[in-house]
């Protein structure tokens, strides 16, 4: 337990010491998206009845920022430790796979949530209502960060070089988060793309998160929660398996 707590604290400090880059930067990026897209699209789109596009956009951007930062936290920490070699100091002590996994995961969730809170804070004046169901908001924030944090652990273990990690980020994480209904409601999509979007777990994170704010969304929050929780459990089992087997970490 002490091992887990220590590693968790170390992972928190690692991003907090460079918070300008790990928290402030993504918040600013999200604010820019919000400014530009709401300016360009506000008169053309009304996503849900009674919900302006500017308001609709906020939860999507927030979840996207949370997801990307949760992924970035665990994956970049692991790859840096592997490449500089200091991961050896985590492999020599008696840390269990579960402690190792839990610490990286929770730190990613914290980073994601801190970024998410920051994005909500700076974009709230665009007209975001108080959450209709704050519990759904919290649940989807935590689970969404959990899924991406876990994916970051897997990618960090797998990648041997920074460019492999960048490929994972650019070719898997970016498309998944961008094509998930961040900027639009998928109910307006042609049937094929609608069906494809329904295969994307990030879509359910954003949809459920939005439901928490507006009390309406494209799919039922229960279905969304089931998909996101299912993805989380599946990926966690995979990550734990990798850690227990020593894949790439203990040859």
């Amino acid at each position: 337990m002490q091992g887990f707590l220590t590693l968790f604290k170390k992972e928190i400090l690692r991003f907090w010491k460079v918070a300008f880059q790990t928290v402030a930067a993504p918040v600013l990026t999200a604010l820019l998206y919000q400014l530009i897209f709401s300016h360009v699209l506000s008169r053309h789109v009304e996503a849900y009845p009674g919900v302006s596009y500017t308001a609709f956009l906020i939860p999507g951007l927030t979840m996207m920022s949370m997801a990307q930062n949760a992924f970035a936290n665990s994956s970049s920490s692991l790859i840096q430790s592997k490449i500089t070699g200091n991961i050896v100091f985590l492999l020599l002590p008696p840390l269990s796979a579960l402690e190792f996994f839990g610490a990286y995961l929770l730190a990613s969730v914290v980073r994601g949530m801190v970024v998410g809170a920051g994005v909500l804070l700076v974009t709230a004046w665009f007209g975001l209502p108080l959450p209709a169901n704050p519990l759904w908001v919290l649940l989807f924030a935590a689970l969404g960060c959990g899924v991406l944090g876990t994916l970051g652990i897997i990618a960090g273990i797998w990648a041997d070089k920074f460019d492999q990690l960048a490929a994972f980020q650019n070719f898997i994480i970016m498309p998944l988060t961008f094509l998930s209904g961040v900027f639009y409601s998928i109910s307006g999509l042609p049937p094929l793309w609608k069906a494809v979007s329904h295969l994307n777990p990030v879509f359910y994170m954003i949809d459920g998160f939005r439901y928490g704010f507006f009390g309406q969304a494209d799919v039922s929050p229960w279905l969304a929660a089931a998909v996101v929780a299912g993805s989380f459990l599946l990926l966690s089992a995979w990550a734990l398996h990798l850690l227990r087997s020593g894949y790439k970490l203990r040859q």
């Binding site: 337990m1 002490q2 091992g3 707590l5 220590t6 590693l7 604290k9 170390k10 400090l13 690692r14 010491k17 460079v18 430790s81 500089t84 070699g85 200091n86 050896v88 100091f89 985590l90 492999l91 020599l92 002590p93 008696p94 840390l95 269990s96 020593g246 203990r250 040859q251």
Partner: protein, 301 residues
């Protein structure tokens, strides 16, 4: 739990490379043990296997009686490893690094011991310095401290003095010697043979994944049979002597290789018979380096 380290028939293969080939030996409690061998001999692979950084294909390793694979937690608590590569986490200060390392071993409130380690390793004024700002030698000292945060009874140092200045080498060895005197079992690998010779009581030599020698230091030195004598003579060396003792001449001195020091008597007798006077005589003791070179170049087992 009769040995500090017990290695039984450990083999490890990376692709076509047999990194460890059926290695077996034990290290007793409180021993100061050296593991020597050229690069690629498998020393680091063996140390990695002890620390659970890599898993042997077969065989078993026990640290203070705990199996390194099936009883990892207990085995790792007993072991402190100083890795060969100079590595550090650039995000943190020296103290943070050591406090975190203590925590990974389940230890809270380790400040007193951390302070003592900093003091012993000559780092007290660097406690709050970022790791990035330290010189290579300083970083190496922090790595030694990291290996000791949990006061392990068994300490393994993988080439701790590679690329380290003389002063640090000496203070480091004094500290390691002190740990050994306090009852810690020490295993070290080094390229500096004089270090092994000065410090260690028993020596293992590895080559291409195999253990080619394992003996008490004195015995190993005695074994290395041949000794050289250097003679300054009043006249030419008799041809019979030159032939039977592989004589060569350097700086006006005759160097003879004796298979055994007892043969010196024969050499002197022959010289007397030939009426050649001995003006100077010196015997060259073998040192570990010579033994090492002999063993590594095939020769004897």
């Amino acid at each position: 739990m009769s040995h500090a380290i017990s290695i039984e028939s450990v083999s490890k293969r990376f692709g076509t490379l047999q990194a460890l080939d059926d290695i077996s030996f034990t290290v007793a409690h409180g021993e100061f043990f050296a593991l020597l061998g050229p690069n690629g001999a498998g020393k680091t692979t063996l140390i990695s296997a002890m620390g659970g950084l890599s898993r042997p294909d077969s065989g078993r390793i026990r640290i203070m009686g705990h199996d390194a694979v099936s009883d990892t937690r207990a085995a790792r608590m007993q072991l402190g490893v100083v890795p060969q590569e100079l590595v550090f986490d650039p995000f943190f200060t020296v103290r943070e690094t050591l406090v975190f390392q203590s925590g990974y071993f389940g230890i809270r409130h380790n400040d007193a011991w951390v302070d003592e380690l900093l003091f012993k390793l000559g780092l007290p004024d660097k406690a709050n310095t970022n790791m990035r700002a330290l010189s290579g030698g300083m970083k190496r000292r922090v790595m030694v401290a990291q290996a000791l945060v949990h006061r392990p009874p068994v300490i393994v140092l993988d080439e701790p003095t590679a690329g380290v200045d003389v002063e640090l080498r000496q203070s480091l060895w004094a500290f390691v010697q002190e740990l050994n005197d306090a009852g810690h079992t020490i295993v070290l690998t080094t390229h500096y043979l004089e270090e092994a010779e000065a410090l260690c009581s028993r020596i293992a030599m590895m080559k291409k994944g195999r253990l080619i020698a394992l003996e008490a230091k004195d015995k190993l030195l005695a074994h290395s049979a041949s000794r050289e004598i250097s003679l300054k003579l009043s006249g030419p060396l008799p041809a019979t002597l030159a032939a039977s003792y592989q004589a060569r001449e350097t700086d006006g001195r005759q160097i003879l290789v004796l298979p055994d020091i007892a043969r010196l008597e024969d050499v002197l007798r022959e010289l007397r018979l030939a009426a050649v006077e001995v003006r100077e005589l010196s015997v060259h003791e073998t040192d570990l380096e010579q033994v090492f070179v002999e063993l590594m170049h095939g020769g004897k087992k």
